[in-house]
Amino acid sequence: MRHQAPTRALAVVGLLLGLAVGGAGAGAVDLSGDSRNDSPILPTDDQFNTLSRDEVQQILNKLNVVPPPDANTKTELRRVITKVELFRIDPKNGNNPFNTEDPIDNATVNGIVQQVAVDDLNDNDDGNNNNGAGLDACIGQTVQGQLSPTAPPDLRFVNMVVDPVTLDCQVFGGQSVDGAFLIFQYSPGALDLTVQGDETVSIFADATVPVWRIIDPAGGFVFIDPFVAAQTVRIVLQANNGVIVEGTFTLTPIGFTEFSVTVVNLVVQ
């Protein structure tokens, strides 16, 4: 039994050598023959003598044809972009410039497309009733957080401004403005601007000349994580003139990095 392994090995080596010699021999046979006559392009010797000059040229042209390159080959090929077509748009958020109904007056919020301009939805211009007389102007409004052109990328803001005397209210998305009494600011990944799952929205009262401060919860600063689920938060604020307003807001995630704020209620205490 112990002698069978070397015997088998010798047999395998012999078989491989035989195949190699046979292969080489086969190659020699092919090369020695006139392989041109196997070509569908080339005529036989007898046919060749009957061809006109033009026909010979046609055959030569065919022989010069280089097959087109193939992307599946391993050859390094030069690729030149010759055409670009847009064939589909999936609206995610805000304006879709390719909205077929109206490229201007459209906005996607929470995955729903509305035929209203983004700035009408978020700004405090007339027409959206998110500003005006009294606290009622803000109650029920939903505003999406908007990027600021000056703040670091990915920071989004929603602002609310209330006049402590008249209680006229505005709520809007965008850059913080002086006098905004309540600011909702999205701070991705503790300001390292990466999505890490610990994103929060900071809520704080702010103005160059502080008019309002958060008295409940104590500390004047609220962190809320709307990216787990929609969150409702209750905040009590006091103005310099003593007016106290209790506000209830719902923060709703949009995707994983954006949010909207709904003013559920504002009540003077």
Binding site: D70, I89, K92, G94
Partner: protein, 162 residues
């Protein structure tokens, strides 16, 4: 031990990491579709370079601003003619569109065939997410900026040459 098994499994489920409870929006996953007639899939796709894809997207936006959208909208773009009509009716003449950022460039599918010129062409389906901003002067409301984020699906054709 067998009696404890259901409790052990239940305990394992309850102990799943908190991060797994994050709510994420539903998002369609771009998947390859049937290749057009006369083409074959590229066996080893060579992804479109991200910079080239971004340049292609910016070309599309430039066509939007120049009123040349007809040149870059694919024949199978849904409601193509309606969009072209809306561009004429609703978009102000001075409207510009700026690309604020492009991310998530991915080559979804690639196939090759012979182009009209007789040369080999590779067609790539590329998806990318772009932040855009339309800017124009509204006679009634002044300067307006309309921001948006959309996923674009481009069909990019390349010609091969050695």
């Amino acid at each position: 031990m067998q009696r404890l098994a259901p409790f052990i499994i239940l305990g394992g489920l309850l102990a799943s990491p908190a991060s797994a409870q994050d709510i994420r929006g539903f998002r369609a996953i771009a998947t390859p579709e049937a290749t057009p007639e006369g083409t074959v899939p590229v066996e080893t796709p060579q992804v479109i370079d991200a910079q080239a894809a971004k340049a292609a997207a910016e070309d599309v936006m430039a066509a939007w601003a120049d009123g040349q959208l007809d040149d870059v909208l694919a024949p199978d773009f849904q409601d193509r003619q309606r969009l072209l009509d809306s561009m004429i009716e609703d978009v102000p003449q001075d409207a510009e569109i700026r690309v604020l950022g492009i991310r998530g460039v991915q080559t979804v599918q690639q196939f090759q065939g012979t182009g009209a010129s007789g040369r080999t062409e590779i067609t790539s389906i590329v998806s990318l997410t772009a932040d855009t901003q339309i800017e124009f002067n509204d006679p009634a409301r002044g300067f307006r900026q309309l921001r948006g984020q959309n996923e674009f699906f481009l069909r990019i054709t390349e010609e091969l040459a050695e």
